[in-house]
């Protein structure tokens, strides 16, 4: 069962990378004709930075979507996490580890709440995570008017700006998290169970999978990924930002990245490697438009068209396969 549902995942991974290669090639040519250079140091670095933030969220989002659920609260978890991180650190290097620990605990708690609402109380995931998001939004709106706290300088240096060659440390973090998620999905019992639950909950239950436990775990992991993204953003910004998650549209964009990466929105099919491809695709488009100095609003229009078009291509292929 799990082997079967993994097959299409393997096949759908190249799709997004073909699109990514095409986008980068065409983008490189267009930028070259425009008199610029797409693959210079600063463009590459900023591309990878964008990808790191969105990627951390999207990898977590992949887990819940694979399980047939969804998390709309991630944007608020990110905002909350930047504040928890920055206020706990309050500019002191000594408090980095406790702050990171606290962020992970808080975000895991939110994930647990999401998971329990979805499984125990049988609230539709859309509504459950939207409701939890609203709870957090009220807390943030009520308590914060603007940036608060200060991120520890050492963390800002290390996670926010340090690089190995052109590759930011944050992107290495994304690769590590992706590798861990990939391992969990393809080599552990949890991963196989998660895909089974997403594919057909009833069949999974009858074959002895504890659906609720698996889904709650996925929700906790998803929230913790959003917490990591929050720590990263706090180290980029140097402080906690109560609206950074929603302004970055991390909830909707992470879902878009997952779906562009070939994971079925209904669950049961896909994987994290494709998601990273989806994230890189969105980040590349961003970078190309920045190089061409395309109007920010026009960029958003094109992004909407690309998201719809990419998913339409997948749907078309899936239909042909089914026929």
């Amino acid at each position: 069962m799990s082997a079967l549902s993994l097959l299409p995942a393997r096949r759908s991974v190249p799709g997004v990378f073909v699109a990514l290669t095409l986008t980068l090639t065409i983008g490189w040519l267009v930028v070259l004709l425009d008199g610029g250079q797409l693959f210079n140091q600063s463009t590459t670095v900023s591309l990878l930075h964008v990808a790191a933030g969105l990627g951390l969220v999207a990898v977590g989002q992949t887990l819940v979507i694979l399980g047939g659920s969804l998390d709309l609260s991630v944007a608020y978890v990110i905002s909350l996490s930047t504040l928890v991180a920055a206020e706990t650190m309050n500019g002191s290097d000594g408090a980095v580890l406790p702050a990171i620990g606290l962020v992970l605990v808080v975000s895991a708690g939110v994930g647990l709440l999401n998971g329990l609402l979805v499984t125990r109380f049988r609230v539709n995931a859309f509504i459950a995570t939207l409701g939890v998001g609203l709870l957090l939004k009220g807390y943030l709106d009520n308590g914060y008017d603007g940036p608060a706290g200060t991120t520890a300088p050492s963390l800002v240096q290390a996670l926010g700006y340090q690089r190995v060659g052109p590759v930011p440390v944050s992107f290495l973090l994304l690769i590590a998290v992706t590798a861990a998620a990939w391992f969990a999905l393809s080599r552990t019992r949890f991963g196989h169970h998660l895909v089974a639950v997403g594919g057909d909950p009833e069949v999974a239950r009858l074959s002895g999978v504890r659906n609720d436990r698996v889904l709650v775990t996925a929700h906790v992991l998803c929230s913790m990924c959003a917490g990591l993204a929050g720590i990263y953003l706090a180290s980029r910004l140097g402080s906690g930002a109560p609206r950074v998650g929603t302004e970055g549209l991390y909830d909707l964009e992470s879902i878009a990245a997952v779906v562009i990466g070939g994971t079925a929105l209904a669950g049961g099919r896909g994987g994290v490697v494709g998601t990273v491809g989806g994230v890189l695709l969105l980040a590349s488009i961003d970078a190309i438009f920045n190089q061409l100095e395309v109007d920010a609003f026009f960029k958003q229009v094109i992004r909407g068209v690309i998201i719809i078009a990419a998913v339409a291509v997948y749907a078309r292929r899936a239909m042909r396969k089914a026929a």
Partner: protein, 327 residues
Amino acid sequence: MQTVQPRSLSLRLPRVRPGGVLPILAILAVLLVLVGIRQPDFLAPPSLMSFLGRSAPIILLAAGQYFVIVSGEFDLSVGSLVTAQVVVAARLIDSDPARTWPVVLLLLAFGALVGLVNGLITTRLRVPSFITTLGMFLILVGAVYLWSDGAPKGGLSEEFRRFGRRAFEDVPVLGRVPFALVVLVVVAVAAVLLMRSDFGRTLVAVGDNPRTAELSGVRVWRTRTFAFILSGLAAAVAAILLGGYSGVSFQAGAGLEFGAITAVVLGGVALGGGRGAVVGAMLGALTLELLFALMNFYGVSGALRSTVQGAIILLAVAVSATRSSSR
């Protein structure tokens, strides 16, 4: 060949349709009592009338969202559509009263067109409606900023604004009936009649089980596309009322899609489709608005609104979910 079950289709419908209006009525009644204790003046006809008028846009959006949700889809683009409509109206009217009616017609056509595009992409290209309407959201917000260079231009005519602002004065008993309320009542009656028609039954059947519906000869894609068009039209009407009431801004429709979805779910309509009544959806929106009014009266900080909103939705949905699963 067990999939062909034309009988179950006709058998299920009568049981399904009244679904879940009673709980929302009960919640509404409790809230009314609470409001009555704290602020008896609020229940006097004039202030009640203007409250209903103010709530009309979100109730209309909930009705529009209902059509889409009951057919098994989502429309996340309505908030951005409202914003786009208001900004477009201001720029096209440019404070010239003579342009009011052509622009109103144009807005309705624009709403229907956006719904048509959403519907066709979802049904013909098989893109999940979540993604379709999210993409449309990005496109509309981007396009409207692009078109107005980042700041709303022009202005609405007084003629246009009266839909959202003015009222029939000196009505016996009620005192003052806002135009918005009249629009709301007309749309509500139309929506109820529509749901009682063949189309309404088909819509619910499509949401309940698209495959069964398809096999019994329903053109599922057409039905769903029409639901998206209705949602777009509802957004257009809501935008006209909202623009008149609160004026032009890029925030005009922000977050309204989630408000509408919340209202629909609160009204007992199942996400995923096939269950719930349009009246329930509209009552859900009214309940949310009444809840916000109540919070005002009790001096709850406006910022905490969303926390309370979130808690209420979770509670309401969790209660109804545990009840229906134990049945």
